[in-house]
Amino acid sequence: MNVSDLSPKELSDRLTSGTLFFRTGPFTFSLRTELPEIIDAFGLLYGDFPVLEPGYADFHASLEKLRGVKSWFSPQGTFLNSGVPQFNPFPLQTALPHLEWGLNRCVFRNAHNYLMVHAAVVERGGRALILVGTSGSGKSTLCAALVLRGWRLLSDEIALIAPDGKLAALARPIGLKGESIRAIEEFSPDACMGPGSRGTSKGLIAHLVPPKESVLRVHERARPSWIFFVNYTADASVALTPVSKAKALMRVADCAFNYTLLGRQGFETLAGVVDASRTFELTYSNLAEAVALLDGPDSEARLGTRQRQREQLNARNGTSRGLAQAREDGAAAPERLELAVEPRSRHASSSSAEPTSH
């Protein structure tokens, strides 16, 4: 049974009594709220999510209206996990974004059996594209657009990387801010969006309903194949620029919630993901152009898919060793040749020589 199979009264009864249990990816949540606008929005945004019978939950979330004098003048809300507030009180009109942020917070503060990176993840053909970017980088907008073009949504906020290096799904509504909402509505006028919330610290926020297929396939993991550092820049032409794997590792580590906490396992897991991926910086201003770059007829060649397949085939046939293996074996001739041509420039520059630390 899915959330959409419940009548409005059944949904309201479950949410107000705290007996609404739902699952996304590896996690089971219970949710309690009496806020009518949240009950309606939850029914829309989570309609395709399976409802579980009350029992075990990884996280017990509740969204409440605060009582007190202040709330008479300016209604305030709070989000709790197992009874513990996760934010300072917030304007009640921003309860829906705080529900989403709160559910994310439950995950990234607790799910340390995964390496968790602040990134969106989409999948096609079993291969995951990890979109790394800070707030305002355009990653969620691009994630939403790709999902609307048929890529499967794994997550729009938290890349969950299992110790085996595969990406677990956490498909939930995609949060979009002011300009992004308009960009997605222009990109796909049929996109199903939830209600907008004004007055958040990030301005107007609305959520794209996750596609049913992404919700149903949430148990399917994907292997890492591409890492994009997304960089929305007004008026910029769309451009895909290779990033070295070592620098990519450092940049992803910077965006991870628990890389340092996981220690050796975090390094090994992340190095494996970077090793398996092609790493690029994607600059864009026009959403349709960026999507065409990744989803158009030449995208496979551009993203190196065919090249990677050829490498894997050659490796299996024993006709060519992987580059990493060759280097471990000491076959680093190209690097030595480069150095021999210009030896001084390689070790005389203090700016490039300083070890960078994370």
Binding site: R346, P355, S357
Partner: protein, 97 residues
């Protein structure tokens, strides 16, 4: 500040390594830090994996590996590298009084 010439250094163990092209990433479990090293830094630390080396021997090995001249400029640069590695906790030292 550079290390005294009589001091020998060795890369702390265990360090976790990944090398991609000219660049190396090293994770130091003792500090929990990850370091991005360029070609010369990476090769320099790599030379120190097996045994304790003094500055002169390290320069010889590095010059050989990288096919570059073992001159005063290299020696000065490697001394600076060793100092940085030591500050980052990447080295064990021998001969420190």
């Amino acid at each position: 500040m550079s290390l005294a010439p009589e001091i020998k250094a060795k890369a702390r163990t265990p360090l976790l390594w990944r090398r991609w092209g000219d660049e190396t990433v090293v994770y130091n479990p003792a500090s929990g830090q990850t370091h991005l090293l360029d070609l010369v830094s990476g090769e320099g630390l790599s030379c120190l994996q097996e045994s304790f080396l003094d500055l002169g021997t390290l320069c010889e090995r590095l010059a050989h590996r990288l096919d570059i001249e073992n001159d005063a400029q290299l020696r000065s640069y490697v001394a600076m590298l060793l100092s940085q590695f030591e500050e980052l906790g990447l080295l064990e030292l021998e001969g420190v009084s």
